[in-house]
């Protein structure tokens, strides 16, 4: 008889919705042993093929069962420099866990029986961080004199920098904002990824010799040619998907309609939840509406709800999504967490027009009900508007979380850098090299919006190609 999955400890919904502290508490040693012990140690482990960076999951789980936590940590670090981050933000139910043989087949995402690989990764990562297990050290000292520029300090940039540093290459990382981490800092809220964890993981790169240059905008302060003139042998572009998409409906520029990027940047990067201790404001409404169904929408909604509770406003935050629940692209855990905390979901809804008051502040949102039609190009069933199903919702703050487009600051001033019709950088898929020699790219600037670990997967591949090139 198979053992039941070990449930992860979490702060109860009522308490956690009143602050920005981490929600998921992680496994204790006993829990981790028990959960890792459920792994069947398959001869042909499918889970590994589900991981975009190919972590040797079977081995690290085995090492946990042997109480060799440092070994487990090092096994993960062989492939992934940031286990404490990925263990918290990876949509494992779509990746390693859905591939786990214990997961019921034919489901859109892993079923609960699948091993909680992500929680165990987090356990090992946090162990390594807490016990200062030193990371696997530089392997290839022949590259010591080479210098590589990494542009952007988000998941792709961090991963690439880690891989290169480990090969003994000198890495200088340029970041346009005042703090490092990219979307991990401005996008993902502290209750999902505590700032001390993010800081620690970034610090570990510093200890590997990576140099950070914040407030430096490649494309503005220096272009690629100048970087090469400065002696960089190669450049990695982890520019990210920087430009928010809007719905393109009437009234969208009314006051208090935010892009998710703006709302989350204010709350996370600028700490607006601590206003006035932190000086950047964010407006909090009585009826807050978030449009979209991805992780960003969940993050925005859960931030909105927390802001309401922390400011003595009755919690009233609603997610509007044009498809049904099963199509929500967010991690299942985030959807559950959002629901538990009191975020309401109105599904199969398509916004039509925002309406405001005389001062230009949004007040109401006019919507249409949808039904699902045939699958579209994404393979998901297409939402079709039902004529005459008009209704309005109260809405004094709205967050539009429907996606992002490519960051164009660098690509616009670099005509030789070939981009596709979306503005994404075109790369050679095997090497991630762009149309400019020795310039590589990865993350959302290449594939459009993806996950943290997908970005890292691309960055790893690019790092491998850079190392080969520099040999």
């Amino acid at each position: 008889m198979r053992k039941e999955p070990v449930k992860i400890k979490e702060i109860d919904a009522k308490t956690r919705a009143g602050n920005f502290n981490e929600v998921v508490l992680g496994y204790s040693e006993d829990e981790a042993l028990c959960e890792a012990g459920r792994c069947l140690q398959c001869k042909n482990p499918l889970c590994i093929s589900g991981c975009p960076v190919g972590i040797d999951i079977k081995t690290f789980l085995h090492k946990i069962t042997q109480k060799d936590y440092a070994g487990a940590y090092n096994t993960i670090r062989e492939k992934n420099n940031f286990p404490s981050i990925c263990g918290r933000v990876c949509p494992a139910e779509y990746q390693c866990r859905i591939a786990c043989v214990l997961s019921k087949k034919g489901q859109p995402f892993a079923t609960p029986q699948a091993i909680n690989i992500h929680f165990l990764e987090r356990f090992a990562g946090d162990y390594g961080m807490r016990c200062s297990v030193s990371a696997p050290s530089a392997r290839n000292s022949g590259l010591k004199l080479k210098k590589v520029a990494v542009v952007g300090s988000g998941p792709a940039g961090l991963c690439c920098a880690g891989e290169l540093a480990r090969a003994g290459i000198k890495v200088i990382m340029f970041e346009g904002l005042h703090k490092l981490g990219g979307v991990l800092r401005y996008g993902i809220p502290p209750f999902r990824l505590p700032r001390n964890i993010l800081d620690c993981e970034i610090e570990s790169l510093k200890n590997m010799g990576v140099e950070f240059v914040p407030n430096f905008i490649v494309g503005k302060n220096k272009d690629l040619e100048e970087l090469f003139k400065d002696g960089f042998a190669a450049v990695f572009l982890g520019l990210g998907a920087g430009i928010p998409s809007f719905l393109g409906i009437k009234g969208e520029n009314l006051c208090n309609i935010y892009s998710a990027n703006e709302f989350l940047t204010r709350v996370n990067l600028m700490s607006a939840y601590e206003f006035p201790k932190a000086h950047s404001p964010v407006n909090i409404g009585k009826s807050m509406v978030v449009i979209g169904g991805g992780n960003t929408a969940m993050d925005a909604a859960r931030c909105a709800l927390r802001l309401q509770l922390m400011n003595g406003i009755a919690p009233n935050t609603t997610i509007l999504y044009r498809r049904s629940e099963v199509e929500l692209p967010a991690r299942r855990l985030e959807i559950e967490h959002a629901k538990e905390e009191g975020v309401q979901f109105r599904l199969l809804v398509k916004p039509q027009e925002f309406m405001g008051d005389e001062n230009g502040f949004v007040r109401r949102l006019h919507c249409l009900q949808c039904e699902l039609g045939e699958p579209d190009s994404s393979g998901r069933r297409k939402p079709l508007e039902i004529p005459g199903s008009d209704f309005e919702v109260d809405c004094d703050v709205a967050v539009v979380a429907i996606g992002l487009k490519a960051n164009q600051i660098l690509t616009k001033v670099t005509p030789a850098l070939k981009t596709d019709k979306y503005g994404d950088v075109i790369v050679e898929p095997e090497t991630m090299e762009t149309s400019i020699k020795n310039v590589f790219a990865g993350g959302d600037i290449v594939g459009g919006e993806g996950t943290v670990i997908e970005a890292m997967g691309m960055a790893k591949k690019a790092a491998g190609a850079i190392i080969e090139r520099l040999k």
Partner: protein, 281 residues
């Protein structure tokens, strides 16, 4: 990575709203900055990111001059800093530079602290061989800045003050209208470039419209990252949504939705008043 303020000068000090000039080192910005561009800065780690125009760059391209007026919390905190104190963060140059070429006859209008923004633009227009007519406006004589500097780069030069304490009593648009009315074809003005308070820029747009003169304004929309990531600074121009930070800050004055801009710039008025009361002694 803090940025030490090299010099500080109070340019105007009237009724608790001083205009302050600081000089900061940054060759990475100075080497690349062009007229019309701006920087974003944070005075403190817990502070806001605010955009400010680059008023000048030294000959050696190692320092920036930034001029601002005390308005909200951040500018008030910033104005308390002295030479030797540090900024927490500084990034730029941001936004599209002014398109500088030979238009012919150009009128440049600056109102209030907006005069700091027109200075590099006027200089660049002059260097490009334009005939530059400058109109400066201020509430009162003491608030007038950069008068001598702008006079030097102008072929014609006018000053107005609301209270008549200096130059002509009245508004910049009075002079602007006179100039446009009095010019006879083909001696027409080819471009009007204006920076100042929103009501002034709007009035300028209304003034130049009937004369069909191309009119550019540099908008002061609210920003956060100022690199195109957040959309806080979106403005409607000719019915299209544009981001001031990456598409602007300059736009065709005749196409800007001024009502929307005014409303959007008031989004945080209550919070601003609250925090100023708390933190400004």
């Amino acid at each position: 990575m803090s940025i030490k303020i090299l010099e500080k000068k109070v340019l105007a000090d009237v009724s608790a709203s001083r205009i302050v000039q600081i000089k900061v080192p940054s060759s990475d910005i100075a080497k690349k900055a062009k007229a019309g561009q701006f920087i974003v800065l944070m005075a403190r780690p817990e502070g806001e990111r605010i955009p400010l125009t680059i008023a000048d760059i030294d000959v050696g391209k190692t320092t920036l001059t930034i001029i601002f007026q005390e308005a909200g919390l951040t500018t008030r905190l910033l104005s308390k800093l002295e030479a030797g104190d540090s900024l927490y963060a500084l990034a730029g140059p941001l936004g599209q530079p002014t398109e500088i070429h030979k238009y012919g006859k150009v009128i440049i209008v600056g109102g209030g602290v907006g005069i700091a923004e027109i200075y590099p633009v006027a200089k660049a227009f002059k260097e490009a061989g334009n005939q530059v007519t400058t109109i400066l406006g201020a509430r009162t004589k003491e608030l007038l800045i950069l008068e001598q500097e702008l006079k030097k780069v102008s072929d014609n030069f006018y000053i107005t003050t609301d209270d008549g304490s200096f130059g002509k009593k009245g508004f910049v648009t009075d002079i602007l209208k006179d100039l446009l009315v009095s010019c006879v074809k083909p001696e027409v003005y080819n471009l009007v470039y204006a920076v100042g308070p929103i009501p002034m820029m709007r009035k300028i747009a209304e003034t130049t419209k009937p004369f069909n003169v191309k009119t550019l304004v540099s908008l002061n929309a609210l920003m956060v990252d100022a690199t195109g990531m957040c959309g806080c600074c979106r403005v409607s121009v000719g019915g299209q949504t544009r981001f001031s930070c990456v598409d602007g800050p300059e736009f065709d004055a005749h196409l800007v939705d001024w009502d929307e801009l005014i409303k959007r710039n008031n989004i945080y008025r209550e919070k601003e008043q609250h925090i100023c009361k708390l933190l400004i002694k």
